[in-house]
Structures are given as structure tokens and as C-alpha cells.
């Protein structure tokens, strides 16, 4: 589910950053969660893509109960570590698991908006083709050095010619030819740790691999 927000006094952001959304109940109880920003810095409206966790405290509101015109508290942008560097030279590798693709999408969008042709490969792992977020846009962005590839771990449509199975050493061997200048990995904690460990086993320098894990923090 994608929300477009018009934020008063928004100072702009860098692709990869997140916001903290805080909801306050009538009795004063507060719940706060972090969501990655999906939009490119110059997109105008701030776009958040939120995955619904049914028994969560914040995502059911953001994906179900929220109405156009509602207001809620938002802090950000926060986090200057897991961000796209527009001056990067050399290949970039983006690896996303499930909704971990969201901050990577902001990077792909910024890259496209800048007319940047830095070779960028996105490896996106999803359970099935119908849960792949931004499918059409990712296909449209393809070219000018941007190359998305998909691996489906559970179900695949008839005639699927993309990759299948988890991101492991063998799959990385096929998708990633050499060592990129910069790598960003985002997804659930076990996914991120498995991918980062596999990259390090291939000899990639750990300091060039930036990770953003998201865990079961209650959604």
C-alpha cells in the first residue's frame, strides 16, 4: 500500500532515508514505527510504501483506516548512512527482499531522475510475482545502465524465465559479475544477513556493503 503525503516544511531527503511515524491514541498511548521513503528527493509529494502487519499497531491504520486529509505525526528524514550517493563511480548493486525494495526504489528513481547512467543492478527477491512491488515501473526504468532482475522463492507464473529460489552463493554468482563499488541490501533480518554473508564469502569488502535490516517490530 502506497501513501502520498504532503508534509508541511519538508526539508527534502536523500534516497534511502526513512521517516518515523508516530500515532497517539485518545488516551495518550503512543506507537512509533519507521518507514522507508519510496519517492525520489525531487518528487514533490513524499511517498511511503507500507506493508500491512495485521496485528501491528501502526500499519493497520496506515493501510486501512487512514483517510485523505488525515494528519499524523512524522519525523524525518532520518538516517544518513543507508543513502544513495549521486557521486558514486563504479557499479552499484541493490539487493532487496520483499518490501526491502522500498528504499532501493527511491535510489532507482533518483538515479533515473538525475539521468545518471552508473551501472546499477537490482536483485529483488519476492515470494511470488503478484507481490512484487513497482513491477511495471521497474520494467520502465530498465535501460541506461539500470538492470533489474527478480527471483521468486515460492510460486512462479507459467513461462517464468527469471530466477527462482533464495538469494544464495549460486544465484549471486550468476547475477553479480564482479565486486560492485557499492552494495545496498535491505529486507528482513535473516535475508539481509544471508545475502551479506554470501557477498563477503565471494570476497566483497564488508565496508562497501551497507545493510538495512527490518525485523518483526510489530508493524
Amino acid at each position: 500500500m502506497t501513501l502520498l503525503l504532503d508534509v508541511d516544511g519538508w526539508s527534502g531527503h536523500r534516497a534511502g532515508q526513512h521517516v518515523d511515524v508516530r500515532l497517539t491514541a485518545e488516551d495518550g498511548y503512543q506507537a512509533q514505527r519507521s518507514y522507508s521513503i519510496a519517492s525520489a528527493p525531487d518528487a514533490g509529494m513524499l511517498e511511503l510504501t507500507v506493508e500491512r502487519i495485521d496485528d501491528g499497531e501502526v500499519s493497520p491504520y496506515l493501510t486501512g483506516d487512514v483517510r485523505a486529509g488525515d494528519q499524523f505525526e512524522l519525523r524525518g528524514p532520518v538516517g544518513g548512512y543507508f543513502v544513495w550517493d549521486p557521486d558514486v563511480r563504479g557499479d552499484v548493486l541493490l539487493v532487496g527482499g520483499g518490501s526491502g525494495v522500498v528504499p532501493l526504489m527511491a535510489m532507482a528513481r533518483q538515479r533515473a531522475a538525475d539521468g545518471d547512467d552508473v551501472p546499477t543492478r537490482l536483485l529483488y527477491s519476492a515470494r511470488s510475482w503478484d507481490v512484487v512491488i513497482y513491477r511495471d515501473e521497474l520494467q520502465r526504468l530498465t535501460g541506461n545502465g539500470f538492470e533489474p532482475s527478480f527471483t521468486l522463492t515460492r510460486e512462479r507464473p507459467d513461462g517464468w524465465t527469471g530466477y527462482t529460489g533464495r538469494v544464495d552463493d549460486a544465484l549471486l554468482e550468476q547475477v553479480v559479475p564482479g565486486e560492485p563499488a557499492a552494495t545496498f541490501v535491505c529486507g528482513p533480518t535473516p535475508f539481509v544477513e544471508a545475502v551479506a554473508a554470501a557477498l563477503v564469502r565471494r570476497g566483497h569488502a564488508p565496508e562497501r556493503i551497507k545493510t538495512e535490516r527490518f525485523g518483526p517490530t510489530g508493524g
Binding site: V78, Y81, T189, K210, R213
Partner: protein, 86 residues
Amino acid sequence: MDGLRLDGNAAAGLLQDIFGMDVTVADGTCDGCGATEALGAVHVYLAAGTVLRCPHCESVLMSVVRSERRLWVDVRGVRSLELRTP
């Protein structure tokens, strides 16, 4: 425990409350093993409070507990912090 492990990024907002600036790009040196990492790259565990641990030796670098009007910050595991000023 692995499922609850996050990155320093996840604590970016909280750390900003404490330091008044983004410190996820600041380099912290672990008092346990002497390794230096950007705070955005350390391990974070969320429970009743927020605990930052060294990704190399898992020593506690910093812990923060928040109540309604107070923050308790323990930074004894950080030997030094190198901040970039604007």
C-alpha cells in the same frame, strides 16, 4: 535473537533526539575490541529499551531507555565518537 537484530539506521531518529544531529554516519570506536564502525552499521536490538552493540565483538556500545519525558543514555561502551560537523 537474530530475528530482532537491526542496524544502527533503525535507531537514527532516537540518536538524533540525543545528539541533535544525524550520528549514523559518525564513526564509533568500541571500548571492548577497538573496532571502528559508522553507527549506522552497528547492531541494534529493540526491547524495553534500545541497545547498540558492536558488530565485531557484540559488546554493548550504548543503551537508551525512554519514558514519557526522559531518556536514559548509557554510552560506556563507546571509547570515542568521531562526528562530522557541518
